[in-house]
């Protein structure tokens, strides 16, 4: 009972601190009183005992797996932001085999208990959002929304000209326009290519490009069983004579003399 209770409490502590500030005031106390009657008072003694042990976890050397995990969790917690803690809360709730109401009750109760220990551990202090629901679903929603906004910030760096627009809708429009313009560019360039090179005859530059990249591994990003293209292209790479003969070459320059000058100009590789 002791060890499992301890483990549970550690997990509770991970979950609890974002909600801690929200539980300040009368709400916390009322919940505490309610839970007290629900669970019985003797639970507090074990909680106290557990808490005194967990508070010293960061300084003591870790011995067994439970403590290792707790320390790892606590240390990881310090460097993470608020979304991650909420994600963990969601995950931990799913991992536990307890009923939902009892979980809530216990988390509320240990809220006020850990208030005394909050100065000992470096929790990420979350600004108390007044009137925000603390049930699991809205927390998950909030975490999800923050994940999405984080990724949109990443996108903002990639898409040029996205800095001026604020708000998700505007940024989304910019991104969509950019993708559409890129696709149109591909179409336009392929049109140009078909006009410029009707028989798709490749000149020396392309050949030398192929020669230099001959040793480049074909299946770089994982293998596909895309049987048609694979068989053709692997043979064209491995046996260079065959590939050579099937191409229309415009001059008879020897293969090896074509070095990187035209290639580097051609495909100005950074």
């Amino acid at each position: 009972m002791d060890l499992t209770g301890l483990k549970w409490l550690q997990q509770q502590q991970q979950m609890v601190s974002p909600e801690f500030l929200q539980m300040l005031g009368s709400d916390g106390r009322e919940e505490l009183r309610r839970v007290e009657t629900y669970l019985g008072k003797n639970i507090f003694d074990t909680i106290d005992g557990c808490i005194s042990r967990t508070s010293s976890f960061q300084t003591e050397p870790v011995k067994n797996n439970e403590e290792n995990r707790a320390v790892a969790l606590l240390n990881k917690r310090k460097s993470e932001g608020k979304t991650e803690t909420r994600e963990k809360k969601k995950k931990k709730i799913k991992a536990e085999d307890e009923t939902e109401s009892s979980m809530k009750g216990k988390s509320n109760m240990s809220n006020t208990e850990t208030s005394s220990d909050i100065h000992k551990q470096d929790y990420i202090h979350v600004r108390a959002r007044r009137g925000e629901a603390t049930d699991r679903h809205s927390l998950a929603e909030r975490a999800r929304r923050e994940k999405i906004s984080k990724k949109m910030k990443c996108l903002q760096d990639i898409v040029p000209g996205c800095n001026k627009v604020t708000g998700k809708a505007g940024m989304l429009d910019e991104i969509i326009n950019y993708v559409q313009s890129l696709q149109q560019q591909v179409e336009f360039l392929s049109m140009k290519l078909s006009v410029l090179n009707p028989q798709l005859e490749f000149h020396i530059n392309e050949l030398s490009m192929m020669a230099d990249l001959r040793s480049f591994p074909l299946h770089q990003q994982g293998s596909l069983d895309y049987s048609v293209m694979n068989s053709n292209q692997t043979t064209s790479l491995v046996v260079k004579n065959d590939a050579f003969s099937s191409w229309d070459i415009h001059s008879q320059c020897p293969y090896n003399n074509l070095r990187t000058d035209p290639v580097s100009n051609f495909f100005s590789l950074k």
């Binding site: 991650e84 994600e87 078909s194 410029l196 990249l213 990003q221 895309y226 790479l237 950074k270």
Partner: protein, 153 residues
């Protein structure tokens, strides 16, 4: 997902990988006899080149690791009436589509643009879009270089 703190990886290989794949697919096109026939209209040729460009981009950059590249390759294979087999570790569940309707951020237009976007969650959609944009821009650069080189001759 519990991996929310992982840095988002949108690495794209170098230009030469794209170039290599594109040239290979073009040479493949050339080997098909239908391409060189004079009664092949310009439109068809353009379409074939475009498809070759997309397919080579998908193979060069995404491989099987990206959802959009898989969707692209599957779509291309379906047009050729060929079956594509992907070896995957996890089964992608398509009931995710149901969860998409719940979200207030309606990225429907983006989903329509991105290949395979209909079955992704919104956060995954953003990741895929970032990678897709990078790959597209790389492909455009390669094609631009090719066109410039050819037109200069």
């Amino acid at each position: 997902m519990a991996s929310a703190d992982k840095p988002i990886n949108t690495d794209v290989p170098e230009k030469d990988v794209f170039a290599l794949h594109f040239l290979q697919s073009l040479s493949n096109l050339r080997r098909q006899n239908a391409f060189n026939s004079p009664d092949d209209t310009t439109n068809n040729r353009v379409k074939k080149i475009k498809k070759a460009a997309y397919v080579s981009m998908a193979r060069a950059a995404g491989g099987t690791n990206r959802l959009w590249s898989r969707a692209l390759l599957r779509r291309a294979a379906k047009e050729n009436n060929k079956v594509v087999i992907f070896s995957r570790r996890k089964k992608r569940v398509t009931w995710l589509r149901r969860s998409n309707r719940r979200d207030p951020v309606d990225a429907e237009r983006l989903r329509n643009l991105l290949p395979g976007g209909g079955a992704m969650e919104t956060s995954k959609l953003m990741e895929e879009t970032a990678h897709y944009i990078k790959c597209l821009s790389m492909q455009v650069k390669v094609m631009q270089c090719l066109v410039d080189g050819l037109s200069a001759k």
